[in-house]
């Protein structure tokens, strides 16, 4: 069968169109990945910041367990009973929450004295 004139041009156009769709899809995926990497970097910075505050507070608590101020938000009172043959000893403490902005859900917890 004889090909019509211009058929090759149409085929090439279709080929280029399919290729362009593919390139656009790949470019979008790359852009998404790059955005995810940037967000991840921000999340790591946020994690580090709040972790540093929590770690500092634990350090102060360790150095002077009698006198310290925790910078976290008081969440609730907790207690645990430690029992053995000599009897029971109840440890009462407070749970503090260290959290960053709601954007990144970074949360740490520390037990403070009652």
């Amino acid at each position: 069968m004889r090909k019509h004139q211009g058929t090759l041009f149409v085929e090439a156009l279709i080929g280029v169109a399919i290729f362009l769709i593919g390139v656009i899809a790949v470019a979008s995926a790359l852009a998404f990945s790059l955005r995810a990497i940037v967000q991840s970097r921000e999340a790591i910075a946020s994690d580090m910041q709040i972790a540093n505050v929590a770690e500092e507070d634990i350090m102060y608590m360790s150095i002077s367990p009698d006198v310290y101020n925790l910078r976290g938000t008081l969440l609730k009172n907790l207690s645990v009973t430690l029992s053995d043959t000599n009897g029971a000893r109840t440890l009462n403490c407070k749970l503090y929450r260290y959290k960053d902005t709601d954007k990144y859900k970074t949360t740490f917890y520390i037990l403070g004295r009652q």
């Binding site: 090759l8 085929e11 090439a12 080929g15 290729f19 593919g22 390139v23 790949v26 995926a29 790359l30 998404f32 990945s33 995810a36 990497i37 991840s40 999340a43 790591i44 994690d47 972790a51 929590a54 770690e55 634990i58 608590m61 360790s62 367990p65 009698d66 969440l75 907790l78 207690s79 645990v80 009973t81 430690l82 029992s83 053995d84 043959t85 000599n86 000893r89 440890l91 403490c93 749970l95 929450r97 959290k99 859900k105 970074t106 949360t107 740490f108 917890y109 520390i110 037990l111 403070g112 004295r113």
Partner: protein, 141 residues
């Protein structure tokens, strides 16, 4: 023309492979970061729990003249409904009769962790009866 199409397909394939590779690596790093973060959460809880237990012993006048043995155990559950986080702390206190120190060991783990059931932190420290302070901190993996 066939050559152009073939080269284009190969290029597209390479671009796709690069994009896929970046996405997979990003996801892997993300997961590692999340696991590391959960581990850190448990460490802070366990460390502060050991400090509070030591402080409690000090307040209860467990000093150099206190000679009773310790073999205490206890558990505490922590739930934060705002953040859908739950953790459990297991306390162990042990010391022989007349020993100068009391070993305080706290295991913090997150039973509801979607990432790994093995995420836990084991922190121990020794409460020194004569000084009322903690020492010999250790962290087990």
């Amino acid at each position: 023309m066939l050559g152009v199409v073939l080269v284009s397909l190969i290029l597209l394939g390479i671009f796709s492979a690069v994009a896929f590779n970046i996405a997979m690596n990003t996801m892997r790093v993300e997961r590692w970061q999340r696991e590391h973060f959960e581990q850190q959460q448990m460490q802070y809880l366990a460390r502060s729990a050991v400090i509070q237990t030591g402080y409690k012993l000090k307040k209860d006048a467990v000093n150099a003249s206190y000679s009773k043995a310790f073999d205490s155990k206890g558990s505490m559950n922590i739930i934060d409904t705002d953040r859908f986080i739950s953790a459990s702390l297991d306390f162990v206190l042990s010391a022989d009769s007349g020993a100068p120190t009391v070993l305080i060991k706290v295991t913090a783990y997150s039973p509801g962790s979607p990432l790994s059931a093995d995420t836990k932190a084991v922190i121990s420290g020794r409460y020194v009866k004569s000084t009322g302070r903690m020492s010999a901190w250790e962290e087990d993996d």
